[in-house]
Symmetry: C2
Subunit: 567 residues, 2 copies
Amino acid sequence: MKQMKWWGWGDPDITFDITARPALWAYLVNSTGIENDRGLKVSNANLESIKLSEPVLNNNFLKILKGILKPEQMQYDFYERLIHTYGKSFRDLWRIRNGIVDRSPDIVCYPGTEEQIQAIVAAATQFDVVLIPFGGGSNIAGCLEPRDCQNRMVLSLDMQHMNKVLEVDSYSMTARIQAGVRGPNMEEQLNQHGMTLGHFPDSFEFSSIGGWVATRSAGMQSDKYGKMEDMVIALKMVTPAGTIVTRPVPKCSNGIGINQLCIGSEGIFGVITEVTVQVHHLPARKQFHGWLFPDFESGISAVYEATLQNIAPSMTRLNDAQKTALSFSYKTRGSFMQQLLSRMLLLHLKFVKKFSMDKVCLMLAAFEGDNINTQIKKISAIYKKHGAVPLGTSPGKSFEKSKYDFPYFRDFVMDYGVTADVSETATTWKNLLPLYYHTQKSIQQAIIDTGSKAWCGCHVSHTYKTGASLYFTFAFKQSSAVLNQYLQVKKSAEDAFIKFNSTLSHHHAVGYEHMPWISDDISATGIKAVQGIKTTLDPKNIMNPGKIIPNNFSLTDWGWTGEQECT
Amino acid sequence: MKQMKWWGWGDPDITFDITARPALWAYLVNSTGIENDRGLKVSNANLESIKLSEPVLNNNFLKILKGILKPEQMQYDFYERLIHTYGKSFRDLWRIRNGIVDRSPDIVCYPGTEEQIQAIVAAATQFDVVLIPFGGGSNIAGCLEPRDCQNRMVLSLDMQHMNKVLEVDSYSMTARIQAGVRGPNMEEQLNQHGMTLGHFPDSFEFSSIGGWVATRSAGMQSDKYGKMEDMVIALKMVTPAGTIVTRPVPKCSNGIGINQLCIGSEGIFGVITEVTVQVHHLPARKQFHGWLFPDFESGISAVYEATLQNIAPSMTRLNDAQKTALSFSYKTRGSFMQQLLSRMLLLHLKFVKKFSMDKVCLMLAAFEGDNINTQIKKISAIYKKHGAVPLGTSPGKSFEKSKYDFPYFRDFVMDYGVTADVSETATTWKNLLPLYYHTQKSIQQAIIDTGSKAWCGCHVSHTYKTGASLYFTFAFKQSSAVLNQYLQVKKSAEDAFIKFNSTLSHHHAVGYEHMPWISDDISATGIKAVQGIKTTLDPKNIMNPGKIIPNNFSLTDWGWTGEQECT
C-alpha cells in the first residue's frame, strides 16, 4: 500500500498544479497579502536535514515480537519511522517540513491477523511498550503523534495488511470488514457484491475503516448514510485487558452501548480489528447539482426547510460567501465555473436577480437513487423559494472531479508561507447563525491580532433534524512565530465553539490538538468516566497515551501554566 | 402521581374484565390446561400478611437528608416501601403476591430539584447509603429490587416530582425534559407546542423518560422515531464523582459518546436528571391497518421487503400463528374481530385463499403524516404480493383501544395459577427465522419438561435495515415449584438468543434477571469496561448495586454453583 508524502498530503506522484486554475494565484495573493511572485517559495522541506529521536528499544519485548511477526512485518528504518510520526494536521506538516520531530515511533509493525495483534498487545502490556494504531495516517487532530510521558519504546501498528471485506450478508445488508482496509479498496470489494458503505470523508483515499470508527468520522453523504457511529452494528477491539467482542444485532438493551464505548476511542483503549457495518445497494444513479443563493442566511433557511420536510439530498454543501469566492477562483480553465462567471450571467445575477456579488453563496447537492428527478424537483422548489438560481450539473461535475484534492492545495499554499487549517463543529438549527457570526468574527480578529490579513470561510456539510455542522477554513500569511500564530487562531475558533454551546469537533476527533476543550465539552465527570475505562482496559497506559484525556504534557503547547510534569 | 397496584400492573382502579371478551376464557383453559372454573382463583395476594425487612437506618445520613428535603419528601411508611420494592416482572409479582419480600428500601425520597439530587448523592456517598433511582416502577428485568451485598441502608429515589418539560425549541425540534416525567404527562406538555416525542412503549402510562433512557427503551413506533438511544442529544447524570453534562449538539467527535455511556446504565453509575431529546411535529393523521398473512414466513418476507424499499410504516407488528390465535380470542363482544371470524370470512380464507387457519398471522401497521393513503397503497401492494388479505382499519382500532392493557391480562391469568412472561431480542434478517424456530422450540420443550402444557407466541415489532426484534410471550400452568419452573423456561429463551448470535434483550434491560447472559452478550472485556466506569464514578458501589455487572449474589437464583459470597 502506497503511503502518503512524508511532508504533505496524498499521493507522492501528485503535485498541485495552480496553472490549471487561472484565477487561483491572484485570489491567494489578494486574500493573504503574500508577495505576487511564484518563485518565492519559503518551504524548506528537506528529508536529509531531519533527525529522528534515538530509537528506544525494549529488548525483552523485541524478543517476543520476533516470535509473533515475520521480519518483513517489522520495520525500523528512517523513512518508515518518519511517515508514522505524525498525521496530517497543519502543525504536523509544518513541523516535519521544518525538521522538528521530537519523537518518532521506534518500530513500525504490520500485523496480518487478529491473533498477531492480541499477541503484540499482550507483550506490549507485559513489557511496557507504547502502541499507536495507525490506519491511513490522515488524522488532523494529533491522534498519531507519540506523546508518552515516560519515554517508553513506541510501536506504530500499521493496520494496512488487515484489508479484507470478510463477509457480506446481502440479505441483512451488513458487511464484516477488517479494520485496516482503506476507502477505495473497501469500496471495490463491496461493489463486487453490488454494495457500498456510503462513507466518503474528505480523507477517503487515504484513511481506513478502523480510523473512521476510532474517530467517529463523517462522510460527505452522511445526511443519507449517517456518521460512522450510526453505521457500526458490531466490532472487535483488542485491549490490554482482553478483546471486546459485540454481537451483530441491529439494536439491543444490554446495559450501556459497548460499540459506542469503542467508537471514538482514538486508540486509547485498544486496537479495533474488525467492524460489522450496515451497507447499502449501490445507487442506480447519482447526480450533483449546483445553485447560487443570494446570501448564506437564505441558503441556510433553504437547507433547514428541506431537512424539516424530510427531503434532504444525500449531500448538501452550502458555502458561505468567502468559500464561494474561493470556489470560483478554484475553477479550472474552460470549466463551467468559468462560463458561469461570464459577463452575461454576472449581469443577470446583478441586475435581474439583484444579487450582491460579495454575498452570493454556492450550494452543491448530491442526489442518489432511481427517483432523482423527483428529488431534484422538490428540492428546487424549496431552494427557489429562498431565492436560489439553479446552475445545473456542471458545478457538481467540477466538485466530483476535485472533491478529494483540497488538501493538496493546502500543501501548495504552505510552500508560500501561508498557514491554512480548519475547525469544524455542530450545533442546533437555532444556534447555527449566531455561532457562525461569532466564530467567523473571532477567527478574523485573531488573525488580524497576529498582524496578518484574515481569510476565513465556512460551509455547512452535514445536516440533521436538530441541527447541522459548520466547517470553518482559515488562511493567513505566516508571521515569524508560525506555531504560536497558528495556535492563537485555532484557539479562537475552538473557544467560540465552546462559548456558543457547540462541540469541539463534529468529525475530526480530539487527539491532543483539541484536548484543551474536552473538559468543557463533555464535562469533568465525563472525562472521569473515560479515564475509568482507560484505567481498567489499559492500566499501564500503553495504548496511544496522551490523547483525549488531558494531561499537563499535552496542554503545554496551548499555554498551560500549571505544573509542567508529565502525567 | 398515582402509583401502580402493589400486587400487579397498572391503575388500581382497573380490573381486567374477561367477561367482555367472550372467547378468551376458553382459549386460556385450552392453552394452559387449567381447570375450567372461574371460581378457582389461586392467587393469595394479601397485604396484611407481608412483612417488610427491618429498616436499616443510617442516622448520620438521615441527619443530612433532613437538611436537604422537606419532611413530606421523605417517606418511611409500609406502603411506600412496599411499592418501591420491586418492578413488575413475573418474579416480582409472584413474590409480592406470596409475601416474599426479602429486602425493601428503607426510605423513599421524592426530590424536586437537581440540586437536591446532587446533595443526596453526595451524602449517600459520604455515609455509604445505597440509592436506587425509581421512575414509574414498570421495569421487568429486576432493575429496581435492592440487591446490595452489604445490607446498607437503601433509599429509593422516586423521580416523579421532576416532571416538567423545561424547554421546547420548536425551530431545532428539541425539548429539554426532566427525567421523572411519565409518558402521558410529558406528551401533554409537548402537545401544547404541537410536538411529540413519538415514544410509546407498552409501559407508556406508567414509565418515565429517565427510565426509558436508563434502559434503552423502544416504543411501538420506533421504526419511525427510533429507540431511546437515537433520540437523546444531551443529558445530565448526577454521579457520586460529579455530574455528567453533555451539550445539545446533533452529532460530535469528542472521544467516545458520553451520552451513550449514560443511556442504558440502569442507575448503576448515577441518577439521570434531565434529557434533551429530538421531538417531532404531531402527525396530521394516524391510522392503524390490519392484514392477514397465510403464515409467519410470508409476513416476515413482506416486512423485510417494505424495510428494504424504505417504505416501512411507523409501526409494524406481525404476530405469529399463536399470537394471532390469542388476538382473535382477545376480541371484545361485537368487535370487528368477531365479524372477521364470521363464517363467511372463514370460508373465504379457507376455500378461496386456501389459508391454513392454524398458520394464519395477523399484521397491524400504523401510518402517520399527511400522505397516509400513498403509504398504505405502497405497503398494500407489497403485502398482497406476499399473500396478505387486507382487513382495513377495524383491527387497528381494537389494538389502539387496548394497546396498553395486556399486562392486566397477565395479572388475571396469575390469579388462576398461570405463569406468563416475555423474552425479547433482536437479530439480523438472515438469522431471524432460524432464531425464531429454535427459540420457539426451546421454550416449548422447556415448558413441557416442567410437566406443563406449552403456549408460546411471538411477534415482530421493531424493524431495522439490518434486522428486527423478536418478542416471545409464553404461558403455562404453574407447577408446585413456581419460581424454579419459571427460571427453567426463561433460561431456555435467553439461552437460545445467545446460542443464535442475538442479544439478551432488545429493549427490556439487564437488571439482575438478564445478568447470567450479559457476559456472553457483550464479552467479558466489555463487562470490564462497564466495571471500569462504575468503579470510577461510584467507587463505593452505592448506585443500584447488583445490576448489569454480574456478581455471585445476583446469580444464585440461576443455579450459580460458584462461591456464594456476596461481592
